[in-house]
């Protein structure tokens, strides 16, 4: 019950023989061996598995891989360009915006999506944009600072 799924991930086209109902998350993690999107809840309630679908952050744990194939998929693994980390990644490192870091994928991908639409978000807008992503360590305040720093970096670059 598998079929060939042709899907563009991080700028590269992949052909994967897979169960068409399989959520995108499993394809990314297991077939493409990407580490960015994480399994957290499996029902789109925690944001650990966030990816960009045509540039917009979306959970990858429910959407079937075959349905996701219409989008260009970007994962945390694919944000770096020419060996240089994305400004959002850099900002999270500089602000040390993690404890266990398991939520960081969801935070960075949601921030990436926000900053593509809004170059100068307010605290309130950042909170709204990241609200889907759960952090259990309580690193929220640093994560907000990191997103603001990323916005400033992107303006200056």
């Amino acid at each position: 019950m598998t079929e060939l799924i042709t899907i563009k991930v991080n700028g590269k086209v992949h052909n994967v023989e897979a169960d068409p109902e399989m959520p995108l998350l499993y394809l990314l993690r297991n077939d493409l061996r990407l580490n960015g999107p994480k399994y957290g809840c499996g029902i789109e309630r925690c944001g650990s598995c966030m990816v960009l679908l045509n540039g917009k952050s979306q959970p990858s744990c429910v959407i079937p891989a075959s349905s996701a194939a219409v989008y260009e998929v970007t994962t945390l693994d694919g944000l770096a360009k020419n060996g240089r980390l994305d400004p959002v990644q850099e900002a999270f490192i500089e602000e040390q915006a993690a404890q266990c870091g398991y939520c960081m994928n969801g935070m960075i991908m949601s921030a990436k999506s926000l900053l593509a639409e809004n170059k100068n978000p307010s605290d309130e807008q950042i909170r709204q944009a990241l609200n889907r992503v759960l952090c259990r360590c309580g690193t929220h305040t640093r994560i907000i600072s990191a997103v603001k720093k990323a916005a400033a970096k992107m303006k200056n670059s």
Binding site: L76, L134, H140
Partner: protein, 734 residues
């Protein structure tokens, strides 16, 4: 101090290195080959049996790299970096030449559990002493080489310089071509904290860079060659008995390798992860269980606790007994069961190969887990290696060990194949051992001078530690298999009364404890009983202050002689202000009455029309003695406050007669960004003092500060957690 330079090489399996210096205790047993996570992908680690004690703390290699070797686990608290800082400081080498090997029964010492904010006080102290010993030893070698006295030598970035001749020699040069092993005597002089260059600084964690760059960092990211995937079908309720499973249906599903049914332990193993997930779906729908309904339910939980708890045992009593009628005030506080709620459900990998079982686990205690798996499988510990690999934050004893037990059982079913067990979200929510429900009755007397002169607390609590310390009955797998191991409840009750003894000067104090065996599985959750005990103690202090007509902060200070306690409180007032608005709450505690001091102020605003409140800000001052990594302390304290705010405002495990009903983040909500307060953390630096555990200091005080702020804002005294807005008497507010 021994020089083992002349040991024959066949005595040990050494690293292929051109020389090294190893510092530890009683360095006799073999050192297993070191192949750490730092150097290679986790997938490439070759299992190595140890079978003997491994007791090195640090190793300095001829490549100029220092390896810190700790039995403690990285849990997101930043212990890797702090321990590396301590070693690098003592040896005067830069951080980029230090790496660390964490919890692994094949490579590191048995340091039991990474728990109780004890890693800096325990492992940190040992590593500091070992590094001092190494420095002293290297300086002796350098003195010979440079033909001078140790007193004339100084070190900068791993280069030893003679003040007389200005000649230099590097640590590397001193170690090259030698295999040196030195025992810790405890006599090597420690550096003067005044000269610290690394300790106390906000050194960045290198693991955060790995996480941000999507490197394989977590156990969930491990992909071993030939790895197969397992899912566990847990019973609907704790004591359910399996009646039937749809064996044929599962057997014909393509890709399913094995269905394991062992008593009430059911697992499916498949070649692909999603195949296992789908098979689990079929099992969940079609397996039949015989379940006894739970008899104790949330509506009768606290009554049941009072009815069934053991007789009272005195924890501490001083100043003579006070007749019950003399108490002027009393109150009862309640805490429900609460979850660790790790964002990443538990995961483990087991591999049974060449007569050796290797388990990769995010357990807080690799050695105790090894002992427990040994009990479970009746396999000698010498044939088991447990390797610690970080998972998502655990905040105590969650499903990590249980998943390790699952992986051990299943690895034996699939010889030669690495079996990856990944719990589903529902598994973690339903089966992790929760922080126990607690019932706290406190009585107090305000004496003639307007001061409290008598205090009496009675705690009712189930256990705050049912960790698997060698008894397979403490693993779910051990309880569910056909020949089940028995779970022995009770034992350590220290967690139940943690922080129950007030630090305040009361003429008479009595603290007593009643144990109960509650309906839900419970164990260690960050700060153990301190969260509930401080919530009650510091709420009651606030109640008595208002009753006495005193300002709550001033009232505490009149009862407090401890200078460091006074200083965190007065510093908080300076930094965060006090007495300026409506909705301010204050609380204080010294964690475990022996670790970090922390004072916190909570600020809430209310929306009377919407009958709700918002926690707007939490400010803290912490004194954890000598600061190792200031950024780490701020991160842990701010995070601790936010997590405690989540517990306090929202969290309660829901259950009914059919079992746990908090099975998702919707049925067990935790704080999201829209409710997260601003936080501010100030540190009191005490470079000349011992470092004190800090990671759990914020949990209890935060809870009480929020309750006290709600009282200040609304006049409603909420004594039952969580402090949901429906418990506030909105009619009372003018």
């Amino acid at each position: 101090m021994k020089d083992h330079t002349h040991f024959s090489s066949d005595r040990r399996s050494f690293l292929k290195s051109s020389g090294h210096l190893v510092i530890g205790f009683q360095l006799f047993p073999a050192l297993a080959a070191i192949t750490g996570f730092e150097d290679k992908s986790v997938c490439e680690i070759e299992p190595v049996a140890d079978g003997q004690t491994i007791d090195a703390w640090i190793r300095f290699d001829a490549d100029g790299k220092l390896s810190v070797i700790t039995g403690k686990m990285e849990l997101g608290q930043g212990i890797r970096t702090a321990l590396m800082q301590m070693a690098a400081e003592e040896l005067d080498i830069p951080m980029n030449r230090v790496k660390i090997i964490i919890a692994d029964t094949g490579q590191t010492q048995d340091e039991r559990y990474t728990a109780g904010s004890g890693s800096i006080e325990g492992s940190g102290r040992a590593i500091r002493n070992a590094a001092a010993e190494a420095r002293q030893y290297l300086l002796k070698l350098a003195a010979e080489k440079l033909q001078t006295e140790v007193e004339n030598l100084s070190v900068k970035d791993g280069v030893v310089i003679s003040s007389k001749s200005k000649k230099t020699v590097t640590y590397q040069e001193l170690v090259t071509g030698k295999r040196l092993e030195v025992e810790v005597t405890g006599k090597a002089p420690l550096k003067d904290p005044a000269s610290y260059k690394l300790v106390g600084k906000a050194i960045h964690r290198d693991d955060i860079a790995q996480m941000a760059a999507a490197k394989a960092y977590y156990i969930q990211d491990m992909r071993l060659p030939g790895m197969v995937h397992a899912r566990i079908l847990r019973p609907p309720v704790y004591d359910s008995k399996l009646v039937s499973v749809p064996k044929e249906q599962i057997a014909k599903a393509p890709g399913v390798l094995k269905l394991v049914v062992n008593g009430n332990f059911v697992a499916v193993i498949a070649d692909k992860e999603y195949t296992a997930v789908k098979a689990l779906g079929i099992l969940k729908t079609d397996a039949k269980w015989d379940s006894k309904p739970l008899s104790v339910l949330p509506q009768n939980l606290y009554n049941n606790i009072l009815e069934t708890a053991s007789d009272s045992k005195v924890v501490e009593e001083s100043g003579g007994s006070v007749p019950a009628k003399d108490f002027t005030h009393e109150a009862v506080y309640k805490k429900p069961y609460q979850m660790h709620g790790s964002i990443g459900p538990s995961c483990a990998i087991g591999l049974w190969k060449n007569d050796l079982l290797t388990i990769w686990s995010h357990s807080q205690g690799v050695y105790p887990l090894r002992k427990t798996i040994s009990d479970l499988l009746k396999l000698p510990e010498s044939k088991i290696r447990v390797i610690g690999v970080p998972g998502a934050g655990c905040y105590g004893h969650n499903g990590a060990d249980d998943a390790g037990g699952d992986a051990a059982l299943l690895a034996m079913e699939m010889p030669g194949k690495p079996v990856r067990v990944q719990w589903m979200r529902e598994d973690e929510h339903k089966w992790e051992p929760y922080g126990s429900a607690m019932l706290l009755s406190i009585r107090g007397r305000i004496g003639a001078a307007g001061k409290i002169d008598a205090w009496d607390t009675e705690i009712c609590s189930d256990t705050h530690s049912s960790r698997p310390g060698g008894n397979a009955g403490h693993l779910l797998a051990g309880r569910h298999i056909a020949k089940p191991f028995t779970f022995k409840s009770g034992g350590f009750s220290g967690g139940s009364h943690r922080n129950s003894v007030p630090l305040y000067d009361f003429a008479a104090k009595k603290i007593s404890l009643r144990d109960f065996d509650g309906p839900l599985r419970s164990s260690a959750l960050r700060s153990l009983g301190a969260y509930g005990n401080i919530f009650a103690l510091e709420s009651f202090m606030d109640e008595l202050a208002w009753k006495a007509g005193e300002d709550p902060v001033a009232f505490r200070l009149t009862h407090l002689k401890d200078e460091r306690a006074r200083q965190v409180i007065t510093t908080l007032v300076q930094k965060a202000g006090w007495g300026q608005g409506k909705g301010e709450g204050f609380a204080f505690a010294q964690y475990k009455n022996s670790a970090a001091y922390l004072a916190v102020k909570a600020e809430v605003t209310i929306d009377k029309a919407a009958k709700t409140y918002q926690l707007t800000k939490l400010s803290a001052v912490i004194d954890s003695g000598q600061v190792i990594n200031s950024d780490g302390i701020i991160n842990q304290t701010s995070g601790g406050m936010i997590q405690a705010a989540s517990w306090t405002m929202l969290e309660e495990v829901k259950f009914d007669k059919t079992g746990i009903t908090s099975t998702t983040w919707e049925t067990y909500p935790i704080l999201r960004f829209d409710q997260v307060p601003h936080t501010e953390v100030h540190i009191i630096h005490r470079p000349g003092d011992e470092p004190l555990g800090a990671g759990e200091a914020a949990q209890g005080p935060t809870a009480a500060a929020i309750a006290n702020a709600i009282f200040h804002a609304t006049g409603s005294r909420l004594r039952e957690l969580p402090l949901t807005p429906d418990k506030i008497n909105w009619e009372k507010i003018s």
